[in-house]
Amino acid sequence: MTIHSLYIYDRHCVCVFYQDWHRTKRPKPAVEGGILPAVSQAVSPSQQNPNDGNLTLSSSFSSPRNTLSSTTGIVVAMNDGNQLPNAPQMQLSTGSTVSSSSGLPFDEEAKLVYGVVISLRNMIRKLSGRDEQFVNYRTSAYKLHLFETITGFKFVMLSDPKTDSLRFVLRQIYVGPFLEYVVRNPLVKMDSREQGIDNEYFRASVDRLIRGLSVFL
């Protein structure tokens, strides 16, 4: 049992945060303009390197000297040559070499996840005839959980298919790290449609919370 990834969408249907843990099939970096800045360093377009000291607030959070690479376990390897097809998990290249990722580009993937979640939400609402929420779905390989806030933020988590409902975890992320480091953070432009909500404290705090769970192995 484990947890694979976390997506956060705002009410304008755009992905504002992404983080992953145990994921063998990695997304390719997004194409230029496909995602907002400050969503996740791991999947940002390779040409527009977030570390290239531009003076936006978002990039100051993600300076190359951050301590994240050790706490998240993500090895941010710059142009470290070709990776083996069966490269160990948690390895990642932000350069142009992404041979280990067989999946979709991240922006495409984020749109598909959002589309599925919204379609299912509408479907459940129609079927129940009440204001009933879609909670989760399961396939043979993973399980997707949804938690939606009143403000329209959608927290989506992918986990092992055998885990129980992780809605409480998503709620914990919302009432804990999200409120503390995003809502109460004056440097994060929420709802701007221009940038994501990624910052060092939020990412580290989410990471700590997830790694502390009993389902995270």
Partner: protein, 136 residues
């Protein structure tokens, strides 16, 4: 355990059979059911591509707060969907039995046109016997 409804979706995403058993969900028009079946067909295709860990099947169980949709995909692409209460544990076996009945009463029926709506009294009767009023 309550069975609300049974759908059969053909390989093109068209709803070929829909029957309600217990009350509890909103009554919809047949057009609305057709749209929902088409949506589910699309979602099923997308979910298999979103896997974070290698290849995946399409969606198997979708849970809401008070009910769930159980999906059985056959090798020929026909989908059987059973809407049940959350507590229901034998939805998979019911779906398998529905598939058996479908093979017997629909596919062996010389008057049935494949991929078209199922109008078979035998199928109706046997499904009625299997699920009854949906209360177990």
């Amino acid at each position: 355990m309550v069975v609300f409804s049974l759908w059969v979706i053909n390989k093109a995403g068209g709803l070929v059979y829909q029957r309600n058993f217990a009350d509890g969900l909103a009554p919809l028009t047949s057009n609305e059911y057709l749209v929902l079946a088409g949506t589910l067909h699309g979602i099923h295709a997308i979910t298999s591509r979103l896997s974070p860990m290698g290849s995946s099947s399409g969606v198997q169980v979708i849970e809401a707060e008070t009910f769930k949709l159980n999906v059985l995909l056959t090798v020929t692409g026909t989908k059987f969907v059973l809407l049940t209460s959350l507590a229901d544990t034998n939805a998979d076996s019911i779906l398998q039995k529905v598939y058996d009945i479908y093979a017997d009463a629909v596919m062996k029926n010389p008057f049935h046109t494949p991929e078209m709506p199922i109008r078979s009294e035998g199928f109706d009767t046997r499904i009625g016997l299997l699920i009854g009023t949906g209360q177990t």
